[in-house]
Symmetry: C2
Subunit: 338 residues, 2 copies
């Protein structure tokens, strides 16, 4: 059975979202109407690549069994595995080139997963997958040219042009977190200065909150971590902001300014119709999105701002697997999923 | 005769580059092998749109006569007019939406030029055309994903994805000059702060030189303008730098840093295989390009830097008309020119 002759609602692709912390696996029907069998397990990268791959393959097998039982189909109904991996990938050769979180280097992920599962496997970058998932079934549905930002420990990005993921000339496009917004600004983990990620990632948000608390004794944030500032997280900042804490509110407003400047850049360059922002930062809700939209409007051209909606992702936890399936379909057929 | 059934080396498109200062018109064969009949005239925008359009139409007519004579063809051999216009355009409706230099607003350029020439007319943004010209017949030839920067009074940009100009969701993509590289930096003409254009345009280069000369009595630049700093131009700065003037050299090195940061952003986002830089700034040659490449390498990811060559344009004066012809062909056939 090939994807071209398959029945859209009764053939399935397994989606895998391989993260630095967790592996999430689901199955989806080709037409995107059925998603089930969500399984997850810790990645435990320190155990080495072989252990991680074995764990993924086991989750894939369990998911296949679930699909067969719940959808009442045979094993033939499973057409392949789409896999989102962190770091840079080489889709054609099936390699994860560099994944710092996993400490993988030129790892032949497609060959290894294919051998263990007996299925065709396609890989893509995880932020690309999250963006494509939000485009296929989430907040960016209906978009033509879409920019996705995934804000977690870092800031990842994905670019969709004319409904297809754009990968660039060597599969490395979309490093939106590493756009300089302040030439002589904060040092970024990538070695550069003033990257968006150095201001607006979850860890940068927590870091800026810690700095602010050094000069403030009154914020409720300090009490929330019993004075141990190392325990401050971005999620705690959003929570304190939503309860009116002045320091936390300022951190969220500053985050909106930094993100706004980065997104205004993207609008002036790309003129997209949707920007979708996924990840923990969406917990801040309109506290973040309202000033963010204002900042973008202040910085970008009116015509590009008018043409674009800026929205939070609506598939927390599943955008990655949904997008891994979408990318499998696009890579296999040369067309975006229906 | 339609473009689909035309003979590539004996049918012609007229290319028009409408600038704030000059209009340049040439004719090219469909296959790009023959270019001739270059005519130019001052734009004289202050005389109003009707006068400008009449002047363009006259140049087009003269060019048609030249083609008929020199190529020994009849009028039927002229298939249409491709026109690059400054500012934002709406290709589908054939409008120049906003062109500050010309003081045009929602001007129906296609309709007007079509009526005067009796030919099909397609328009595109001038920086898009310059980029597409360098891609078709200039320094970016053979590229797949290409970014073009045109550095003159301002900083214009063009984006080519998979050999086609990318226009975005409302024909406004490619405003690369208005990417923020310094959040709280110099005020830009667009109203924003810290745009690349506020640092690296010809006028910004001249402005930075003037500022530097306020604290320097020894630079040869001062003598070149007989002490009248208002006369400083970017071209004078490049010339002084090439002759070893310390102040001018510092301005060129700083320009390389600003441009390098902007281009590094584009590399991390787009992962292009070519960046082509056109305009007066190319006169600075390796004095600019060598430190520029170093700065890009310092700021962008190695894998994207390795995948990309950064080159000066090789069609000064004609990239715009060549690209206007290429854009006409692409808009008419849906495919890039051969």
């Amino acid at each position: 059975m090939t994807i071209a002759t398959a029945t859209p609602d009764s053939h399935f692709i397994i989606g895998v979202d391989l993260g630095g912390t967790n592996i999430v696996v689901s199955a989806m029907s080709l037409d995107g109407t059925r998603l089930f069998g969500e399984q997850s397990a810790p990645t435990l990268a320190a155990e080495g690549a072989d252990a991680v791959v074995a764990r993924m393959a086991k989750l894939v097998d369990e998911t296949i069994v679930t699909v067969m039982r719940e959808a009442n189909v045979t094993r033939d109904a499973i057409l392949g595995v789409g896999l989102g991996a962190p770091g840079t990938v080489d889709r054609e050769r099936g390699l994860v080139l560099v994944a710092p979180n996993l400490r993988w280097h030129e790892f032949p992920l497609v060959e290894r997963m294919s051998a263990l599962t007996g299925l065709p496997v396609k890989i893509d970058n995880d932020a690309n997958c999250a963006t494509y998932g939000e485009w296929w079934l989430g907040a960016a549905r209906g978009g033509i040219n879409v920019i996705g930002l995934t804000i977690g420990t870092g800031v990842g990005g994905g670019i969709i042009i004319d409904r297809q993921l754009y990968h660039g000339s060597s599969d490395a496009a979309g490093e939106i977190g590493h756009v300089t917004i302040d030439l002589t600004g904060r040092r970024c983990g990538c070695g550069n200065y003033g990257c968006l990620e150095a201001y607006a990632s979850g860890s940068a948000i927590a870091g800026r909150a810690r700095e602010a608390l050094e000069h403030d004794e009154t914020s409720s944030l300090r009490a929330r971590v019993n004075g141990d500032l190392a325990q401050i997280t971005a999620a705690l900042v959003y929570q304190a902001a939503s309860e009116g804490d002045a320091v936390a509110l300022e951190i969220v407003r500053d985050t909106a300014k930094f993100l706004g400047a980065g997104i205004a850049n993207l609008l002036n360059i790309f003129n997209p119709d949707v920007v979708v922002i996924a990840g923990g930062v969406t917990q801040a809700g309109e506290l973040l999105f309202a000033p963010l939209r204002t900042e973008v409007r202040r910085r970008a051209f009116k015509s590009v701002t008018d043409a674009c909606r800026i929205v939070p992702g609506t598939l927390p936890g599943t955008a990655g697997v949904v997008g891994a399936v979408a990318s499998f379909i696009a890579q296999t057929t040369g067309r975006p999923p229906a």
